[in-house]
């Protein structure tokens, strides 16, 4: 009905609205596509390439093959997967168990524990005290410094508590009357019901830990333990060419030294995004739902 009443002015208005949004899409996606184009172009063509290009000039996978065979990059990938995986499992388990207790309205000490958690949200003493705690616990230069720090996120905890509180009381009481202990109720009833919420929290943790670089940068001296983000930072932000190209190749213009630095950087940036792109459909499915249902900010 609305369609049939559209005047020419309304059509033009609509065209302007859609083009504005499409312009936003271009501004968002073009810089990433340009990096892809640069990383896939024939090495000789890269120097003159426009920043506006979105298609490769010639086609070469050399940049990607050099990067994927580079020991620093390989270690970075393994470290990132390890740190992200272990952190996420610890985070989800710890958060779910704590949220289950805190979601029981009659739990003794519930209010005190809530305040304990809220204080950590509003008061952050900063990076130096964090650093010293790590040092005192002997965690510096160990994977655990990065894994255990921020293991349980107070915001995600609150989101899960809110979700658990919505589980109908009758269901829980029925299970308790049947003689199920709290562990069984949690395992057989609460967890299956909370699957969407747990998936959302897992994705939150995955993205957070994959993107984490600051703690890894200050806690891990040993370059062999660096996750991909820190390797990327050293190469692209600090401009440490040797880190990826290697001293010999850089000096003698052989191997990776022959490749254009711009193309190598572009490939390295994209390599770090690949896992995010891989789970992006899931992110869209769960994050948007989670955010739409009232949880503020991811």
């Amino acid at each position: 009905m609305a369609l049939s009443r559209k005047t020419p002015i309304e059509r033009i208005e609509y065209a302007i609205i859609v083009s504005t949004l499409l312009l936003l899409v271009v501004v968002t996606v073009q810089p990433i596509l340009n990096l892809l184009a640069v990383s896939l172009s024939a090495p000789g063509k890269v120097p003159g390439m426009s920043g506006l290009a979105i298609l490769p000039d010639g086609l070469s996978f050399e940049v990607w093959s050099v990067l994927l065979q580079h020991p620093n990059v390989q270690r970075g990938i393994i470290n990132s997967i390890f740190i992200t995986g272990v952190s996420t499992v610890i985070g989800v388990v710890g958060t779910a168990l704590m949220a289950w207790g805190l979601s029981r309205p009659n739990l003794p000490g519930r209010k005190a524990l809530f305040i304990l958690v809220l204080v950590t949200i509003v008061f952050e003493p900063g990076i130096i005290p964090d650093y010293f705690v790590n040092k005192r616990l002997g965690l510096l230069d160990s994977y655990w410094s990065v894994i255990l720090f921020k293991a349980v996120n107070a915001w995600y905890l609150i989101i899960l508590i809110r979700f658990f509180e919505e589980i109908p009381k009758e269901l829980l009481e029925a299970a308790e009357l049947d003689g199920a202990n709290p562990f069984q109720v949690f395992w057989h009833l609460v967890l299956p019901l909370a699957k969407p919420a747990l998936a959302t929290i897992s994705l939150f943790y995955l993205v957070f830990h994959w993107n984490e670089f600051f703690r890894a940068m200050i806690y891990l001296n040993d370059q062999g333990k660096w996750p991909l983000q820190v390797v990327l930072r050293q190469f692209v932000i600090d401009g440490d060419k040797i880190a990826i190209v290697g001293a010999d190749s850089a000096n003698n213009n052989t191997g990776a030294g022959q490749l254009n630095l711009r193309a190598l950087k572009a490939g390295m940036i994209l390599l770090t995004i690949v896992p995010i792109l891989a789970i992006y459909p899931l992110i869209l499915k769960f994050f948007t739902k989670g955010t739409m249902s009232g949880a503020l900010k991811g």
Binding site: L22, W100, L107, P125, P182, T272, L284, M292
Partner: protein, 325 residues
């Protein structure tokens, strides 16, 4: 409360008498009773509680080095407010505090309207798949790390082969090195923030828009309102509470000008323009080793920040019914 009532009135519980006879006397056995019922929950919460103590409360205890002289051979010596006096008499500290406030203000003024406008425009898009396509694209940057985003923008803003300077060149303008331009670098922070999060934040407003009663639009239509009148008289008033909440919450985070962003987009040339409290703490603390001074600066920011968040929470709660937590 209801749990217990249910148990007492339930015919299936055979051992009610023993239970209630145990509950009657003094506090000690009431505690034992509570413990018997609740220990499984505390066992399950134990890892989480331990985590909060070790990684959140121990650091709070560690802030005492802001009041101490750190010695290589312990124990440290208590020096009271000495480090704070040094801090407050340091021009560099006031400069980074000013930078923090300037950058936060710029972000607030120029960032805040963008997601609102995006949400309003998105709401006008009728085709479901077109809308999904636009959303999928503009939400993506929110999930990229600042290292990646800095890498993308260092490339896009390059004076020789960056997209922005290519465009400027086509318009006949001279190339500009934005990343090393003291006059431009703060705008780079504002723009990259918009690039990263304006799309995603529009989702919060879109959720509020979708919750608006459709009858209001129908009524406006009957009154002959056009697209813009409907936006102005129905949609905008409908999302004012959300706008107010997000504005106040952002105000509460005013001293967080985003360490991760600044640390990746900064360089020696422009540092003085975008050095914020957090990067200052990092630099003098972990790079120069002035632990006490850095902790004092961090503590100053933390205390001020806490006050701002708590005030923001209660103002927001009062005005819009929604708080930080």
């Amino acid at each position: 409360m209801t749990d217990r009532q249910h148990v007492l009135t339930s015919p299936r519980i055979g051992n009610v008498p023993t239970n209630s006879s145990r509950r009657a006397p003094g506090r000690a056995s009431a505690f034992a009773d509570g413990w018997r019922r609740w220990w499984p929950y505390y066992l399950m919460m134990a890892p989480g509680i331990l985590f909060f103590f070790v990684f959140h409360y121990l650091p709070i205890w560690e802030t005492r080095i802001a009041f101490e002289q750190v010695r290589i051979v312990p124990p440290n010596v208590w020096v009271g407010l000495k480090h704070f006096q040094v801090l407050f008499s340091s021009p560099v500290f006031w400069q980074v505090l000013a930078n923090t406030l300037i950058i936060s203000t710029m972000k607030m003024v120029f960032f805040l309207p963008v997601p609102i406008i995006v949400a309003l425009l998105l709401n006008e898009v009728r085709g479901g798949s077109l809308r999904k396509f636009i959303q999928s694209a503009i939400y993506l940057p929110h999930f990229l790390s600042w290292v990646v985003i800095a890498g993308i923008f260092i490339a896009a803003l390059s004076p020789t082969d960056g997209a922005v300077n290519n465009l400027l060149g086509m318009a006949g303008m001279a190339p500009r090195s934005f990343m090393t331009d003291t006059g431009a670098i703060r705008w780079v922070l504002v723009f990259t923030e918009i690039w990263r999060s304006a799309g995603w934040d529009s989702l919060l407003y879109l959720a509020a828009i979708i919750a608006i009663d459709q009858q209001l639009y129908d009524a406006a239509e009957v009154d002959g309102a056009n697209r813009w009148q409907k936006i102005w008289h129905v949609t905008l008033p409908g999302i004012v509470p959300t706008i107010a909440t997000l504005f106040i919450l952002n105000a509460g985070m005013f001293l967080n000008a985003d360490l991760n962003q600044v640390i990746n987009l900064s360089n020696d040339v422009v540092r003085s323009k975008i050095d914020i409290v957090d990067t200052y703490v990092y630099r003098i603390g972990l790079q120069t080793g002035e632990y006490s001074l850095a902790t004092a600066a961090g503590l100053f920011k933390a205390v001020l920040g806490t006050m701002m968040i708590v005030v923001a929470h209660f103002v927001s709660k009062r005005l819009t019914g929604k708080g930080v937590w």
